[in-house]
Amino acid sequence: MPVAFSRDILQGLLVEEAMRRQVLRAPHDASLGNCVNQLIKFKANSLLIGDETGCPVGVISKTDIVGAFYAGLPVVETLSRDVMNGPPLTCFPDDELGVALDRMRKNGVHQLFVQGAEPCAVVGTLSYGDVVALLYRYCRACPKGAAGRSEAAGIEDRTRFLTVKEAMRTCVISCGPEEALAGVIEKLTANRLGAVLIEDGKGLPVGVISKTDIILAYHHGAGLEVEARSLMKSPAVTCDENSLLTDAIRQMFLKDVQRLFAYGADPSHIVGVLSLADFAQIRSGSCRACMASRMIGSP
């Protein structure tokens, strides 16, 4: 009986090629305020929490802190050990990237900690953004890809390349500018999102609220009753759904955002959202040749 196998562009690539060597840590008795400070300062999604000996015992993510905010826990008095999740989800430097991505998807996390040789040694982190950065660099180096060509040089045959439309999600969750922060958090949590689009009464996009904005508000002492309009980042970063995927990825890196909202024929109407996680999970470069090389066959 033949054994099926799948092949994609990540085949043969290891975690150590994409991972970050910086690991952000906090003690288990650190206040949530200190944790927010670290997450904001280093633009991280989660912190590794260690016990008295420094051995990792858990993880605290932006999602956990948003949950603490929603539950009404005080930001200064609450300790990381009261909110953290554990144990940390890990991978090894010599794991295949595809295996690590599977682990992230199955567990619904955006970051894995990279385990060293010793039991308590954590030598790095791997996030969706790190995987996309590696893919993007490969795309730029590829003579057939669009990523290495400047827009000025032009791309003669756009049909060879993937567009935002082919990778984006078409389900866009939005809130009104006057919606209370508590309602925004409920939508984020119910839909397992990192950010929500803010649309005015006419359905026009006016801004975005991400988990980063919410933990900043928590740190600044805001209440759950404040309106979305007072916290949102405006304008929302958008792109045309027909623009090349590689241009969208480049835009996300350059503007330091984790998602782009895509519009269709009418630029004022948002029809989808593309995140770094979505792009990482398609496990392909940005041209059709790469996508077509993903195949299922027998060894």
Partner: protein
Amino acid sequence: MYARDIMSPGFHTLSPSNTIAEAVSQFHVASLEEGKKIFGLMVIDENDRLVGMISIYDILLFVQPKHIHVWSEIEDLEAQALFGELLDRVKSVQVSDIMTTNVVTVKPQTHVMVIADLMIKRHIRRVPVVEGTNLVGIVYISDLFNHLLQKFM
């Protein structure tokens, strides 16, 4: 020679609720008024207690894009416009969001050689001088260096 002999008793400070834009402005004012480049400022609360420190390194670290290694491979960048957009997005961030809260301090009677050792081992360039709960001064590595040179050379 002790901390009290070489510390600067006059210093500029920030509040935790100052924005990053206000902090940048205060760095400029402090440098002008103190007659030397100031790269780090102490952060005090409403009771004048030291709650943190912020350096220009902290601010640069924060404003630089997360995937900076990808930027380094892109030659055709309009860096000025892009940085302008990034800076615009951090206006709502406050000093308390990115300051260092675990601050190393010394007492007025701490010996300068102990301070030099601290600065070398902890890679720090300025140390607040605290007496009880009162902030009384700051020792800059440049002042320490100059005093030691004058003393021993």
